[in-house]
């Protein structure tokens, strides 16, 4: 009885297999491209931006995957440039900056509308910023905007101090700084207030204030008998001069701040919708946007489908009819979808390490460019043994980072805190500082090329000085004194961390004779140990910059409670950083920063490992999409090229190869701003 059944099954199976093989033969090959390469039937880009976005609200999210989606949906004053990520005009058609770079005057477009047809005015920006800085708004990125005057005070619920009818000042010296008076734009009542010397602020909450004053008798005396006026939304440095003119005032000069206005935190949210629907305003049925695209359909964890917004002011220049964002996290799944032609492009560092050798052959698709992010190993400088700078130097000198980056295949070795190759002007300043230091130390070119890099002799010498002599054995080196049980390399379970750690471990084992145990942890557990400086010895951090300036990286070691994870604090370094920010000439500022960075690297709070690479692929028919340092893509430049002759073919460097369409679009967009300069 079972026999006849199995016979039937065998026949069915055979037929099925034959069908499979038959249909397999019909499938087409690839002609020099990776996988199926056929432009999609519809004029729609299919893109993987990483995991499911936390929210569509630009001010509440902080990740890169969200940023990319929000760039399609919401526009701000400026937008990231497609290639260099430098600010280009968006809702602001042009702008003026005050001479000491602490005030911005934006001239808005007349024809900018929300997706529901409502006109966009300067008041919308005032509302958005006040919303972002409101104490009840849980915005993870609000800290980036703290340069906006009194925004931190407002967010933190602080209060001004009024004594004898006058507000106390934060800093008496501030009052006499002559540069403070140079405003941009017309004089208004608000501007006079916001540009007046910074007022003193104390805790607004009575209980907290009592605590604050108890801890600071001098302050308590100064505010004794004073009246406390809470800092309100109206006090922060943003002003709508008229419907089309917006002015933003910072508390100090910040030359890099213009670029920050493209960050999702500074993108516009619709007042009329947010106030109507509250937390539900981003639901697909309620959401109103102002970017080149609007939400058509949203299936969480499956697809976010956008369509071109005809109400967008520049919709004539939006090439795509829509974008489909697919949330995918597994790198190999991303690659599979790309290979089968189901997606056209993807997020950054998407290529699994083992695929790289194969993918590298597809030069027209593979985008390997330096990224605005670094990977480093932080030393816990608050605990022995790495509170000893000699040891930190020894471990730095004992690691061959050339070898590490060639092992990682896509990255470049890094010897500084901020990545190289991302800020071209800063790289020049760094070069100059390095040259000056070489002359200062009277070092030869050859010596200098090894300075701060792989240097075995130095490493052994320093170890011996610190009390851990290294001896040579038949198999390599040995360092019997070193307390390996007191240290470990801590890293989280993220993608390549394990192989980096294994590589570094074996390097130190070979070069120094010290085997440091490895320790993996799930991300949140890792964070607790890392942030509380509870870890032993060494921990890994991957940091991506928030804005296009080396300050975003150097800031990691600035101040007493910094985010660098080393527990490093050096007033001298902080002073150098402050000096740099007072410098108004961009080139001089960079040089001052480079000097600070050089000093920092001599203290070795961390061993920088690599400059990461963008490392993603796009189909050759997708044009106008570039691997900029943050892989933040302004979507309106992207188009699908159906003429095979115009596909990316044998492109040497996509960044320097001009695309007439993109160049034209870009020059039209920036012409008005350029004319004012």
């Amino acid at each position: 009885m079972l026999k006849s059944g199995s016979n039937r099954a065998t026949v069915l199976l055979t037929v099925w297999l034959l069908t499979l093989i038959g249909s397999g033969c019909v499938a087409t090959g690839s002609n020099g491209f990776f996988g199926r390469t056929q432009p999609p039937a519809r004029n729609v880009l299919r893109y993987v931006s990483g995991p499911e976005p936390e929210t569509l609200d630009p001010q509440l999210s902080d990740g890169q995957p969200e940023a990319r989606i929000q760039m399609a949906l919401f526009e701000g004053l400026v937008e990231y440039g497609p290639k260099d990520q430098q600010p280009i005009p968006a809702l602001a058609k042009r702008w003026d900056i005050s001479p000491n770079m602490d005030e911005f005057l934006f001239h808005l477009r007349d024809n900018a509308k929300w997706s529901d047809g409502t006109l966009i005015t300067a008041q919308d920006f005032v509302y958005s910023l006040r919303r972002g800085f409101a104490p009840e708004t849980i915005s993870r990125t609000a800290g980036l905007g703290y340069f906006v005057k009194y925004s931190e005070a407002y967010k933190s619920g602080l209060a001004f101090v009024k004594k004898d009818g006058k507000f106390l000042l934060a800093n008496d010296a501030d009052a006499v700084d002559p540069r403070r008076s140079q405003r941009v734009g017309p004089e208004t009542e608000f501007n006079t207030f916001i540009r007046s010397p910074e007022r003193l602020t104390v805790e607004g909450d009575e209980a907290k204030r009592a605590k604050q004053l108890a801890a600071d008798p001098k302050l308590a005396e100064a505010v004794n008998g004073a009246e406390f006026v809470p800092v309100t939304a109206e006090d922060i440095g943003v002003e709508a001069i008229d419907d089309r003119t917006l002015r933003i005032t910072l508390r100090q000069s910040a030359p890099f701040f213009l670029g920050l206005f493209a960050h999702q935190f500074f993108r516009l949210v619709p007042k009329h919708v947010v106030e109507k629907y509250g937390k539900n305003w981003t639901r697909p049925e309620n959401i109103v946007t102002n970017g080149p695209f609007k939400v058509k359909e949203y299936r969480p964890y499956d697809a976010l489908i956008l369509e071109k917004d005809p109400n967008y002011w520049d919709s004539a220049n939006v090439a795509l009819d829509g974008i489909e964002f697919f949330p995918v996290e597994e790198l190999s799944t991303m690659m599979n979808l790309y290979k089968s032609g189901d997606i056209d492009a993807m997020q950054n560092h998407a290529i699994p390490t083992s695929w790289i050798d194969e993918i590298k052959q597809y030069k027209d698709e593979y985008l390997n460019f330096p990224e605005m992010s670094t990977a480093y190993y932080a030393f816990n400088v608050t605990k022995p043994p790495f509170n000893d700078i000699r040891l930190r130097r020894a471990f730095q000198a004992g690691l061959d980072r050339e070898a590490l980056s060639s092992f990682r295949k896509v990255t470049q070795p890094l010897y500084d805190m901020s990545p190289t190759g991302v800020f071209p002007e800063y790289d020049k300043a760094r070069q100059k500082v390095s040259e000056a230091k070489r002359n200062e130390k009277n070092a030869s070119e050859a010596e200098w090329s090894r300075y701060g890099k792989f240097d075995l002799e130095l490493a052994h010498k320093l170890l011996a000085e610190a009390g851990y002599p290294v001896t040579k054995t038949a198999a390599g080196y040995e360092c019997p004194n070193f307390p390996t049980e007191k240290v470990s390399i801590l890293f989280n379970t993220g993608a390549n961390n394990r192989s980096i750690a294994e590589f570094v471990q074996s390097q130190w084992k070979q070069n120094l004779g010290i085997t440091i145990p490895l320790k993996t942890m799930e991300f949140k557990t890792f964070l607790v140990q890392f942030k509380s400086l509870d870890y032993d010895g060494i921990a890994q951090l991957l940091w991506s910059g928030d804005y296009m300036d080396p300050y975003s990286f150097l800031n990691l070691e600035y101040g007493k409670t910094n985010e660098g994870g080393s527990g490093f604090y050096d007033p001298k370094f902080d002073k150098m950083m402050d000096d740099a920010n007072l410098e108004l000439d961009p080139q001089k500022r960079y040089e001052t920063l480079a000097l600070a960075e050089f000093y920092l690297m001599e203290q070795v709070p961390v061993v920088p490992l690599t400059v990461n690479s963008t490392s993603w692929i796009k189909k050759p028919y997708i044009k106008g999409m570039y691997p900029n340092p943050g892989t933040l893509i302004p979507w309106k430049f992207v188009y699908i090229e159906r003429d095979r002759a115009k596909w990316d073919r044998e492109v040497v460097n996509i960044m320097t190869t001009p695309d007439p369409k993109v160049e034209k679009q870009l020059s039209e967009l920036t012409s008005e701003q350029k004319a004012t300069r």
């Binding site: 079972l2 249909s23 499938a27 609000a142 949140k524 942030k531």
Partner: protein, 305 residues
């Protein structure tokens, strides 16, 4: 029997609440919280978060608030995905996992029981070792290996199924097969063992002696007792399948509950974790009840007092 079922059904609610309580305690013990991230949160923002979610209150108050909501069946909003309620997330993503899970379950049952029975009937022959070796293969190859191999075979060599993502019947084939492979192997092994046991028991011998043909003996008598071990395995298995399986959902980028759940734990998204755990525990207990009840039907020797 009815009273037994009723009693067991009633106890499910307090049990689920116990599970929720224990889970809540574990989340609180786990290091980190939902808002901790690589980048430092401004102090004011952290304070606002703590206030909003009542994290400043003493723990028993927080527990009380949580339980009060849970008893009402309201788990609140996800912490990681603000603006999405937990109930909504479960309702939205359960159908995806359930579709894949149920399909895989029946595929596994069908293939597994067929192979297991066949192997038991032909014990120690090629027809025994063949299917059993295959079953062992299914068991010893992890599904994170099976899935990519299937993708290479069927998506890239044969171009018959899409390599990932939800969409149409053809996209379900590879995930369902991947998921079913392990369970089919389990079921085949358990069926074979159970059947061997039963085929040698007295009542089967009696049935054969009465002159009944193989088919009748097999399906009327032996089968019911033989699949007993399978039944106690498949109860919890079905519950687990319904709630989604992480690996398959990850590899095939499917919007199922399993992956969402793991991420919720890793993100310390407390309401979402509690919601899914409560749902899952009820599911498991209901299926276990069904298993226990079906024992009585399958094997008359089992009685519940």
């Amino acid at each position: 029997m009815l009273r037994f079922i009723l009693r067991r059904l009633l106890i499910i609610i307090p049990m689920a609440l116990l599970v929720v309580t224990l889970t809540w305690g574990l989340i609180r013990l786990a290091p980190g919280n939902f808002y901790s991230g690589e980048k430092k949160l401004p102090a004011a923002v952290e304070a606002a978060i703590r206030k909003k979610y009542g994290l400043d209150e003493p723990w028993y108050k927080q527990y009380g608030m949580m339980m009060a909501n849970v008893v009402r069946g309201d788990f609140g909003d996800s912490l990681k995905y603000p603006g999405q309620s937990v109930n909504e997330i479960i309702r939205r993503h359960l159908p995806y996992s359930a579709t894949i899970g149920i399909l895989a379950y029946f595929l596994a049952l069908f293939v597994g029981m067929l192979a297991g029975t066949y192997a038991a009937l032909k014990q120690n022959s090629v027809f025994d070792f063949g299917p059993m070796a295959l079953a062992m293969l299914g068991l010893s190859i992890p599904n994170f290996v099976i899935a990519p191999v299937l993708v290479i075979l069927f998506a890239f060599w044969l171009y018959v199924f899409p390599p990932a993502r939800w969409g149409g019947a053809s996209s379900l084939v590879l995930p369902v097969v991947t998921l079913a492979a392990v369970y089919a192997a389990y079921i085949a092994r358990l069926t074979r063992a159970g059947m061997l046991e039963v085929l040698r028991s007295d009542f089967v011998r009696t049935a054969r002696a009465k002159g009944l043909d193989d088919r009748t003996v097999l399906f009327r008598h032996a089968f019911r007792g033989g699949i007993l071990p399978v039944v106690s395995f498949t109860g919890p298995a079905l519950a687990a399948l319904l709630a989604g399986t992480v690996v398959v959902e990850k590899v095939f980028a499917l919007p199922g509950l399993g992956d969402i759940f793991i991420k919720a734990v890793l993100n310390r998204d407390e309401p979402l974790v509690l919601g899914i755990v409560a749902f899952l525990s009820i599911l498991i207990m209901v299926f276990n009840l069904i298993v226990d009840v079906s024992y009585g039907f399958l094997d008359p020797r089992i009685r519940y007092e």
